[in-house]
Amino acid sequence: MKQKELAVENKYSRYLTQYSEFEEWVANNSSPLDDSLRSEAINEFRRIGFPTAKRGNEAWKFTNVNPIANQDFDFDFKSQDAELNSKMISEVTPYYDQWNTITLVNGIYNRVLSRTLDAGIVIKALRDKDPNCSLGTHADVKSNGFIAINTAFINDGAEILVSNNYQCAAPINIVHISTGNSAPRVTYPRTLIILESNSSASIIESYISINSDSQFTNAVTEIAVGEGAQLNHYRYLHESPSGFHIGSTVVDQKADSSFKTVSYSKGSKVGRNDLLVRLNDAGASCDIRGLYFTEGDEHIDNHINVDHAAPNTYSNQYFKGILADTSRAVFSGKTLIRQIAQKSEALQGDKNLILSEGARVNTKPSLEIYADDIQAAHGATAGAIPDDQIMYMLARGLDMETATSFLIQGFANEIIDSITLKEFKEYLLNYFDISMPKFRFQGFGKGKVYGGPVERV
């Protein structure tokens, strides 16, 4: 065994022990899960481990995953469903009777809390193995240790298939809940979404925790958008602020397909929203928007990659962040335009509203371009609430708290407005209405910008 592997082996020995226990349990319970996919994944994890290295680790430069790597999490693979009901869930995430709903509790598909309303979609638990299932073909276990370990521990999950030409009437709600446990718990939510040719759907994935404070959620979602298909996708992350969340989403798009996504990410102790979109065929387009909000000592990292691998492809990344207290956010947007991707267009933007001097953002939109006949633009900003906007509102009789929250909400509205799913849009507007008025503009700075130092990298 090579030196490095040995080191990984020692450091992560508990994961390897957990894996043996899990394997044994799977064998004894005649689970139909794919052994070869999992064993390949654990071997890969053994080789690479978590991305904890400091040097040459560009993708994880501003997000330190050591607190995750160094902690013992309990993988409760035998877990039976926790006592939950729809009312408890609807209090913490968008949850409506008139939606197709898939509820996964600690990574396990919950039949009672799930229902399919649309005829043209198939919703399956990954435990009910579908022989044609393309699980693992989009998210590469070699790309990072988190995807590898999620794949190694696939225990259950959700598979959603929207058939050819079917236009989903009701949204599909995929709710991942992590519940409290005696020891900090790790869950490995796994989701596969397939839209066949010319179909369309609106899908929301949410990640929440109930009665839990230091869980680790390591989620992977694979999405295939077929030729001419249209997916409106939403991601809602709002777990406990002292927990850890690493979410990886990989999207493969066929010709003339459209993938639109809007995410809302509330900070975690360490939070990461990793998204890779591959525009594989001509005419594919993606529109990726996100809103993030951190307070206390929370951290969120939006790591967005778009790969233009065909001509006439379009991508737009637009993120906005609100940072309070001593929290920290990272935006790294990378768009690759390959030589073959002529006549493509790529846009990137990230704007940050810094509410206090101690908050800090690292923002780095970047374009890597190998084609000559393309259009591309990118930009990033970070700044405090402008004094003169506050003054204008005070001069109309609004108090400082109201003025501040109006401006924060106004800042967020630009992203929220791009949500076409009415209930989700209203949910977020309402959430901001309730949670923003506690912030207060920190004082007039005689023309100075108030806020923390902005690091440009």
């Binding site: 004094d387 003169d388 906007q389 003054m391 204008y392 509102m393 005070l394 001069a395 109309r396 009789g397 609004l398 108090d399 400082m400 109201t402 003025a403 109006f406 401006l407 909400q409 106004g410 800042f411 967020a412 509205n413 630009e414 007039f444 005689k446 023309g447």
Partner: protein, 260 residues
């Protein structure tokens, strides 16, 4: 209603003195025009009344409705009845005009122990007011002043004034950048608002607006001081003779010091 006594004001950042001893008394029912060349301190005076923290009052007093104004923060001044129509109204990205003006009116009604309007009641008055200022409802559904033309911003300020019906309205060059039709619309708004119970201070660079709103008094501000006061005829005189004429008079009074 307003008693300004020997106000000196400096730019907070560098302590440069801008207002050099202003005296002004405004009673309910009056309209005062403040005229003067660019840079004479007109906006500074308007901003000092509103409580803009970019300026510090280094000496002098201001009483509004017999109460000390200078110790009040800007929002309380507004609630007590002072309204400043800004020379350069701010854009508030993502903040809808409807929501903003409703919140401002609600705050004022609460402050004066009146009942807040329902959305429907507000909407009715808001629509009428918007129409009277020749602003489309569509524009008012957008963010406050965002993407508005210069003239639209000025009329949006007037809508806010009419909705809030302040006791003292200070209009800082609300006439500049307007074509003749828009100027008449704005003037109509002011005339409609005027009553024996409220007062208006019109800050303007040009005499033009005063053809449509007849002031009771005209003051000429030069180099941080009121150099001359008079009736409406003073505006006419300024139009034909220009500001240089007053400057000369002012510098004679100053014993030649203020001559530029």
């Amino acid at each position: 209603m307003l008693e300004i006594k020997d106000i000196h004001a400096v730019v907070a950042e560098n302590q440069t003195e801008i207002l050099k001893g202003i005296n002004l008394s405004v009673k309910a029912g009056e309209v005062h025009a403040i005229m003067g060349p660019n840079g004479s301190g007109k906006s500074t005076l308007a901003n000092v009344l509103a409580g803009q923290p970019d300026y510090e009052v280094s000496s002098g007093t201001i009483e509004f409705k017999k109460e000390d104004l200078l110790s009040l923060p800007p929002d309380e001044r507004a609630l007590k009845g002072i309204f400043l129509a800004f020379q350069y109204p701010m854009e508030l990205p993502g903040v809808r005009s409807w929501q903003f003006i409703k919140a401002a009116l609600d705050a004022k009604l609460r402050y004066t122990n009146q009942k807040e309007l329902t959305a429907r009641e507000f909407d009715k008055i808001f629509k009428e007011t918007t129409a009277s200022m020749d602003i489309s409802e569509d524009l008012m559904r957008r963010s406050v002043n965002e993407g508005f033309s210069g003239g639209e911003k000025k009329r949006s300020e007037m809508i806010q004034m009419l909705m809030l019906s302040p006791d003292l309205a200070v209009l800082d060059e609300t006439d500049s950048g307007l074509d003749i039709d828009a100027l008449k619309t704005v003037a109509n708004g002011v005339n409609q608002h005027r009553s024996k119970n409220n007062a208006v201070i019109l800050v303007t660079h040009y005499q033009r607006l005063l053809n449509y709103i007849k002031p009771d008094y005209v003051h000429v501000l030069i180099n941080g001081k009121i150099a001359k006061s008079g009736g409406p005829e003073l505006a006419k005189e300024l139009e034909s003779k220009g500001y240089d004429w007053v400057k000369e008079v002012a510098s004679e009074k100053d014993g030649g010091k203020g001559k530029s």
